[in-house]
């Protein structure tokens, strides 16, 4: 019966000796042809603003969600309800201006 600790050690030390995959000769050319389609300038002009926009969008979403939770927990009208109330107040203001 094998001792498991020794067996694991033997498997690991044999696995360490496994030869790595050798890169093909034209590997650098393959990579260069892939990078040719996206230049460093493209990355700066498209990727970064998109990334920032995604962060801002998720921040706004998280802020809305948090305010909704806090408002409903403390008994205030929800964001949707609040917006409706605000719109109603604005329209009634407008009506008084239009029809004196």
């Amino acid at each position: 019966m094998k001792d498991n600790e020794t067996a694991i050690e033997k498997i690991l030390s044999a696995a360490r000796e496994a030869p790595p995959v050798i890169p093909p000769e034209n590997f650098a050319d393959q990579v260069m042809s892939l990078t040719a389609t996206s230049s460093a300038e493209d990355v700066i002009t498209t990727d970064f603003p998109l990334l920032k926009l995604a962060w801002v969008a998720s921040f706004v979403f998280a802020a809305c969600l948090a305010s909704e939770v806090i408002m409903s927990a403390s008994g205030f009208p929800s964001l949707g309800g609040g917006a409706e109330e605000l719109a109603r107040a604005c329209f009634s203001e407008l009506e008084t201006i239009v029809t004196p």
């Binding site: 094998k2 067996a7 050798i22 990579v31 990078t35």
Partner: protein, 202 residues
């Protein structure tokens, strides 16, 4: 000895400076110089990835992925934070981790019948002094690591196969050294249990 390590330190620092200069020149409008970095580090990237995947084609695809990612993120590389080699190793490890996550999600554990003859023979032998070939060891290891989480698989490989220390793994993965030790302990325990189960099933 001291003199050698000092010379080694200087050559490492020179290499890091050379890489940083190369990156600056690429960003300044000489993209063709990126091939110098690819040629310099392709062996290292392939060596790391070969620890996580045995299929040649997949390793090649993953290595391409690493270098394309490096290219696209070159603007974020800061030579004052870490040398290019470490930055690229970190990127390579992330690609390996994503690969492990994908594999765990879409692949079931390999049946015992898929183990090669040599691996099966070694497992069935009574004493542990019999020789074990590297590729057979990889087969057994892959089988016994199949139910490890991607993080456990990664940390165990980095520590036991690549021979990295806990602080090094911590630096590359961004996890605390204490967490690394806990994950490593758990992974080794699972590995031993799976080996016992595998031997019992033969």
């Amino acid at each position: 000895m001291e003199r050698n390590s000092c010379i080694g330190g200087i050559s490492l620092s020179l290499k890091a400076d050379e890489d940083a200069t190369c990156v600056r020149s690429i960003l300044a409008g000489r993209p063709e110089r990126f091939s110098e970095l690819v040629k310099r580090y392709q062996d290292r990237v392939f060596a790391i990835l070969s620890r996580y995947e045995r299929d040649r084609g997949r390793v090649e695809n993953m290595a391409q992925d690493v270098f394309v990612k490096a290219w696209r993120n070159l603007i974020k590389f800061n030579p004052r934070k870490a040398p290019f080699e470490n930055w690229l190793s970190r990127m390579t490890t992330n690609v390996a981790l994503n690969h492990l996550r994908f594999e765990k999600r879409f692949r079931n554990q390999l049946p015992v019948s898929q183990l090669g003859e040599g691996a099966l023979e070694w497992l069935q032998e009574e004493d542990d002094s019999s020789p074990l070939q590297a590729m057979e060891a990889r087969e057994i290891l892959d089988h016994c690591m199949a139910d490890l989480t991607p993080d456990e698989h990664l940390i165990l490989t980095m520590s036991e196969i690549e021979g990295r220390t806990s602080p090094e793994i911590s630096q590359i993965t961004g996890k605390a050294a204490g967490t690394i030790r806990v994950v490593l302990h758990r992974a080794k325990k699972k590995l031993t249990d799976n080996l016992i189960r595998l031997e019992g099933s033969l």
